[in-house]
Amino acid sequence: VIGALERFLAFRRVPVKIVLVTALLSYVLQIGAILQGQPLYVIAVYTLLPWIPLLLFEGLWKFEHYSLFAIFALVTFLQVGHLGEHFFQVTQLTAMNGTFACPPPIDDAANAQRAVTAGMRTVGEPPTFVSASTVVKPGITGQAMVNAQGDVIRGMPACGVFGQLDFETVHLVWDSLVWIGALFLVTRFPRNAWLWVAAIVASTHEVEHLFLGWIFFMEHDPVFTGNAQVWATTAVGQIVTAHPAGLEPRMFTFYEAGGLQGIMGMNGLLERIIGTDGLFPFRPYLHFVYNSLVVVPTCIAFLIQTRTAYDQYLAKALPTLTEEQLSRTTQKLQEIQFAAGAVIVRQDEVADRFYIVTKGQAEVRWRSPDGEERPIARLDEGQYFGEIGLLREGRRTASVYAATAVTALTLDRVTFEALMEASGSTRGQLDLVIAARLGGLDAREAPASAD
């Protein structure tokens, strides 16, 4: 699994130099953002940004070669990132004095004015409209909580790194895509039992989010009485701090009044049905568990699937190979690029490799006994050559040139011969192709010999 995973994850289209430059750029931007005193989400954006074009470019290669398995990898990758956000939120709550105020309060006019009233901000200082990256923990009265030393407790808004995205629409869209994605993957990889587990848990999670989405979007009458936490915000550069400024009586929608706990959350629907009080987990913990139960099986399923992942070009060229033969042979494939006009193999040279064209067009040229070289065939993406020299003649029976820039997957002689020994049907398929290709050459040679 490790070897197959390494091979799959290795950069294939993007040269190592570009990867190093991207890593350096990402690092420089990260350090720059830190030195500028930017909030965590800006640092994260600067760090990730340079990688996006590179990953897209590389992802396209993976999709061309691995098809649906590449989609599986993308889903797994995004889901690990998603779980990372939930994990960070739980860490913020449990170990970083985090406050569950999501999305984080914004330094808008109302919050800035409260800070002015409280004497924390000068009158002429305009609001920045930046999200708070520090929150002073509120107590039950809505005012700042103090510790044993009488100090206020500062922490982060416990909304993950990208807390601005922590609202119901994002959760509903993302988790619906996860549910649909999990079902789709089950249809494509039906023998992977861990995917079924992931799909079933994703379904349960989806019920929860459909419920939350429904009450969020459909029940918008503010008919419930309650007190809302209000904030006063101060800003130093891009760092905004939200200070608790008391509770304000307000009318709430069902969602705001407690519905956001959903079906399984603390004092949510199920607790109300069975009559318990605060027995079930608070929403951030519950959704961390939900996501863990989806993402861990997804990762296991992906690792299991890695064992049988194979290159689509190999599968199309040699369709009679078994899945196991394909995945094992994929480990041995080498990608070689040729500039337009380059000689890929030369007639009469010792044959040492088998080639599958994956990009561009190659031209086969045959030199007749009279010494004249003529083009006899063109090979497009997905077609192969080199099998005659390996299986019959020992030497190349024709030359192959790169008519355009050509990328080819190649197999060395030893691997190719072992594969032919293991797969009689593939050997039979190639024998037919060889017979046809040699037949074509004989036909060209016959008039020359007659001459």
Partner: protein
């Protein structure tokens, strides 16, 4: 208006309907997959 237990309980039909919707979609997809597996054991 207070957010009472009754308000919550009034949401049971919604939860049941949404669970049924997800279960039906799952059942259709799983049936399709299982049929495919039976055809290609």
């Amino acid at each position: 208006v207070e957010l009472t237990r009754e308000v919550w309980l009034a949401h049971i039909p919604l939860a049941v309907a949404l669970a049924a919707f997800v279960a039906v979609v799952d059942a259709v997809v799983f049936a399709y997959v299982i049929r495919g597996l039976r055809r290609r054991p």
